[in-house]
């Protein structure tokens, strides 16, 4: 049970696929113009990731090492095709706005990376949990970006009524995607630096506190 929790935290925060590992950036930026699109993309990618993780973990002992990548790609492509046709049949509006990005789930680096790094080495249950938690990490960040961009760019949330007038239209256009993602990544890095700095500080002698050179000499001069 402890391991399950560990994997979950790992996918959601510690190794968040988008904000920490910097993979899967294309759908992250392209499908976040509205929160609804982001929601759909997050669910679709999580579904493909979890299903392909389970199947890859099931066949991991049969597949010969040399041809594992083509096998993984075919499995992922099969689930992508299923998702593509489900969305086309039941959510035609979503299919219209996500467009080419649904078939492109197949080359989403997150899925192949998890297949290679986790599912091909672990049992079915753990791979299932890993797929769900990595998917959740992607889902949370893409929906967050989608909500920020939709709120600032068209003053709505999940297609609601207009909340204020004169929104910043630039936020739903391509430059706004880069800008919002850059700001989110900067904030995450700031928090990360704050958390890790405490550990470095504790290694320094006490008299270094407030010294301008402490980051350079790391307490060397006081010895």
């Amino acid at each position: 049970m402890k391991k399950v929790f560990e994997i979950f935290i790992n996918g959601l925060i510690k190794e968040n696929p988008v904000l920490i590992m910097m993979i899967g950036l294309c759908p992250f930026l392209a499908c976040s113009t509205t929160a609804t699109d982001a929601f759909g993309m997050g669910i679709a990618a999580t579904f493909v990731l979890t299903c392909s993780n389970v199947i890859i973990s099931l066949v991991r002992k049969i597949v010969v090492k040399e041809i594992r990548i083509p096998v993984f790609i075919v499995i992922i492509a099969t689930f992508t095709t299923i998702v593509d046709y489900i969305i086309k049949a039941y959510f035609p509006a979503l299919s219209e706005s996500l467009g080419v990005f649904i078939p492109l789930i197949v080359v989403n680096c997150i899925i192949l990376a998890r297949a290679e790094a986790f599912a091909s080495k672990n049992n079915v249950f753990l791979s299932f949990i890993d797929g769900i938690s990595m998917g959740a990490g992607f889902f949370v960040t893409i929906v967050l970006l989608g909500m920020i961009r939709e709120f600032l760019g068209s003053a709505t949330l999940f297609g609601s009524k207009e909340l204020f007038s004169n929104p910043l239209v630039i936020m739903i256009l391509p430059p706004g995607g880069f800008l919002a993602a850059g700001v989110i990544i900067t904030i995450v890095k700031y928090i990360e630096n704050k958390l890790t700095k405490k550990k470095i500080k504790s290694n320094l002698p006490e008299q270094c506190e407030g010294c301008a050179l402490k980051s350079r000499c790391m307490g060397f001069l006081s010895k």
Binding site: M22, C26, A77, Y85, P103, C109, L173, P174, G182, T186
Partner: protein
Amino acid sequence: MKNSTLVAIFISSIFVNNIILMRFLGLCSFFGVSNKLSSALGMSAAVFFVMNLAAIVSWVLYNFVLVPLNLVFLRIIVFILVIASLVQLVELFMKKNIPSLFKALGIYLPLITTNCAILAVAFLIVDYKFNFLQAIVFSSGTAIGYTIAIILFSSIRERLELAPLPNAVKGYGIVFITAALMSLSFMGLIGLFGF
């Protein structure tokens, strides 16, 4: 889009619908290899080469195999497998026959299989129902657009390395904000050919 002239398709795929800055495709390689100008040049040459080949092969396969046999639903699997094996084939051919080119592009070729820009061009050609000539013009224009964006971006990034920045913005933060400014300037070209 189907009836537009070749010149319009060419210009629009380079600037107005720039694959990186306006369509958000191929971002992994865009951020990954743009830290040095030389690697950006190598990557864009490899992309130009493979993108055109993949567009031709997937157009032929789609129109002469998948559509007549009523197998359009297999297109995702077929395209990704064709591109992956094409890259392998090109790599083997280059290694044996053009070793000097292989030395320059070799390390970028395996990365291209998961470059979504290549696969996206194959899908977009099918979606827009282009004829063969339009497909070639579209894929080469897109590849030139990729080259322009990544070369400009890597030149900016080489200077950014030396800029005094706060710790939190260093690395990917400033890279994304720079990309936002570049994308803003490319947006000024919207409406050039009615796209």
